[in-house]
């Protein structure tokens, strides 16, 4: 296996938490909510997976279930704040991140042992796995990698080909008009925020599985990178996959650079900071990308409903 193959193989594994989070964020933003709290949801997901693994005899599937449950709880809390109470979404999100950091760090110090870890099972796809060059990079990954690609297609279908996608586009561009056409904007946003948070929490579970244990504040801005990925990909789930892969490989560089000749001379701290620098470059590159018009603005229904 060549170092470049290892780099991409690792990059694909590292892309998954950001990909799940970014796909969730696509659904949320397409309904007209900006979820800055995504970083906190990712962290809570990772912590919940750690708890599940710790108290579920080391089974990652128990961890995944607990993470999904935690994602639902986060989604309900955030939906109540963002949608029902109409709080400012950026400020609420940042405060939610502090809350998530404080809670997970405090609880982890007491209940989760950093040594405890579990992986999702690998899945070698027969035949495809034997393609020279790319086979062992693309088709020798854990099951969540394949799940995330399938999910991207599902999210594409959901946001572009279903009534939910059509209504949520209306709710994110011109909610007042959507309301007058009979849509319950709040109910749609509740659903979107909860589903999006569940996806982010699943990403957190993969983050936990990748890293072999729960570390305080381990997300290190992956949720915020997911926010940038969504803008860079212009809310298109397939471009989200491509952008996530870019940042996954950028993160993998810090572990593999020493085997890649000239890259080994770059100080490791520069490589650690590389994904963040890349985000700034991506923001400049994606400068034409516009948020849906109503994103970030609380909606107050004309008649009080639900």
């Amino acid at each position: 296996v060549s170092p470049v193959q290892t780099l991409f193989s690792l990059g694909i594994a590292l892309m998954v938490p950001m990909l799940f989070a970014a796909l969730g964020e696509v659904i949320i933003e397409k309904s007209g909510v900006l979820n800055v709290g995504i970083e906190g949801v990712l962290l809570v997901g990772a912590f919940a997976a750690a708890v599940g693994v710790n108290y579920g005899n080391g089974s990652i599937w128990v961890g995944l279930l607990v993470a999904i449950g935690a994602g639902v709880v986060c989604g309900i809390i955030l939906a109540l704040l963002y949608v029902r109470l109409g709080t400012d979404q950026i400020v609420t999100g940042i405060m939610f991140n502090i809350l998530a950091f404080g809670l997970t760090t405090t609880l982890a110090a007491k209940y989760v042992h950093a040594s405890e870890s579990a992986q999702f099972p690998d899945w070698h796809i027969p035949l495809l796995h034997d393609i020279p060059g790319v086979g062992n990079v693309l088709f020798d990954q854990d099951v969540l990698v394949y799940a995330s690609i399938v999910l991207a297609a599902l999210v594409f279908y959901l946001t572009r080909r279903t009534w939910f996608g059509l209504y949520s586009r209306a709710a994110s561009e011109f909610p007042r008009a959507a309301e007058s056409a009979g849509l319950n904007v709040w109910r749609l946003r509740y659903a979107a925020v909860i589903v999006g948070c569940v996806l982010a929490a699943v990403g957190g579970a993969e983050l936990f599985a990748n890293s072999g244990g729960f570390v305080a504040g381990y997300t290190n801005g992956r949720g915020f990178i997911a926010l940038a990925i969504v803008v860079l990909a212009r809310w298109n789930p397939f471009w989200v996959v491509a952008a996530s892969l870019l940042f996954g490989v950028a993160q993998a560089l810090q572990f593999e650079a020493d085997k890649l000749g000239f890259l080994g001379d770059i100080p490791s701290h520069v490589l650690v900071a590389l994904p963040y620098i890349l985000v700034l470059a991506a923001v400049v590159f994606a400068r034409g990308s516009r948020y849906p018009a109503a994103v970030g603005i609380p909606f107050r229904p004309t008649r009080s409903s639900t």
Partner: protein, 368 residues
């Protein structure tokens, strides 16, 4: 959206209306005071439940926190020094927030300020007068913070980049720069921090028996300057006007781009000051566990509770600093992580937001 007054309110709303209409001096209504109390009570109840889960009861925790935050003059001094950091990071958030520009990168601007402070302090001539060397370091840190803040500010002004994303990315870059300083640029043996800055660059002590240094008056002066800028200058008026309504501010000849750049530079400069106060006035070196304190992010909470008013930031910062220092006492007596104080802060602010005690105005999308 304009809502006409309904002819007859249902009974529940009639009570609410009556409570709303009881107004105390300066526009504070009894209704808002009730909501503050409700938010506070809800925060404490949730936190008490959490403490039970963690195996501590609320009374013990309360005593441990108040004792280590205010118990004696030394502890009070510690609280005031942490408060001076939070005043500065609070200003870093408050000024851009007044223009509805979300500078959430105070953490990184503070780190970069601390980074530059150490770099300058280590390289100043050894015989330099303390007053001069401290002044140079503080100004350098403020310029550094402003530069770090200018990146998201300029990206916002020129290409309308989401300043939340860019300022957060600058934060992670700054933290990595700090880690680089700790283990490669200015390492201090095997310990997990940078070299200590020389004695002639440290801020002098101003309260014997405590560790209170010139950092505290500097932070208070910064808050007063910020108040004066916001309330007594044309620039402050423009910042507030852009925050209330960017469209009408633009139509009245104000430059929204200029306000974006200036507020981010000002905010960054105050965050840089926080970094200088931390290095020159408190710790004399950059420790690797520093990001766990989240002082930059807590500054946002400080600013919000102060309703973005520079002078109210001072008591707000003292309150949150007491929680931070109190968490140390809690750790010593119960073994809980010091991050427990951050839970309380975040819960409180989220509930204040939920009770609509912290609100922002938005343009109505439907009118476009």
């Amino acid at each position: 959206v304009t809502t006409g007054q309904p002819a007859a309110l249902p009974p529940r709303h009639r009570l609410e209306e009556r409570l709303r209409s009881l107004t105390l001096p300066r526009g504070i209504t009894l209704w808002s005071i009730l909501r503050v109390l409700a938010a506070l009570a809800a925060t404490l109840i949730i936190f008490a439940i959490l403490l039970q889960v963690l195996g501590t009861d609320f009374g013990t925790a309360f005593n441990a926190v108040t004792d280590s935050a205010f118990g004696n003059s030394f502890n009070l001094g510690q609280t005031l020094m942490i408060a001076s950091i939070l005043i500065a990071t609070g200003l870093a958030a408050a000024i851009p927030f007044r223009a509805q520009l979300w500078n959430v990168g105070g953490e990184g601007q503070m780190w970069f300020g601390a980074f530059v402070t150490i770099g300058i302090a280590l390289n100043l001539p050894k015989g330099m007068a303390p007053g001069l060397s401290v002044t140079i370091c503080v100004i350098a840190a403020m310029v550094a913070g402003a530069v770090w803040g200018l990146v998201p500010g300029i990206l916002k002004a020129t290409i309308n980049a989401n300043e939340v994303i860019t300022s957060l990315m600058m934060t992670f870059i700054a933290i990595e720069l700090g880690n680089w300083a700790i283990d490669t640029i200015w390492p201090q043996g095997a310990s997990n921090e940078t070299m200590s800055v020389p004695a002639n660059t440290l801020m002098p002590n101003i309260w014997t028996g405590t560790l209170v240094t010139w950092g505290l008056p500097l932070a208070v002066i910064a808050a007063i300057i910020a108040w004066a800028v916001m309330n007594r200058t044309k620039l402050g008026f423009e910042i507030r006007a852009v925050g209330l309504n960017p469209q009408s501010a633009r139509m009245n000849g104000m430059s929204v781009s200029k306000v974006a750049i200036v507020t981010f530079a000002l905010g960054g400069a105050f965050a840089g000051l926080a970094g200088a106060i931390f290095i020159l006035g408190i710790n004399s070196a950059l420790p690797s566990g520093f990001p766990l304190n989240n002082f930059g992010y807590l500054g946002i909470a400080v600013a919000l509770v102060a309703r973005l008013s520079p002078l109210w930031i001072i008591p707000s910062a003292v309150l949150f600093a007491a929680l931070r220092v109190g968490s140390d006492g809690l750790q010593a007596s119960t073994g809980l992580s010091t991050t427990v104080g951050q839970i309380l802060v975040a819960l409180f602010v989220i509930l204040l937001l939920g009770f609509r005690l912290i609100r922002f105005s938005y343009p109505e999308v439907a009118s476009r």
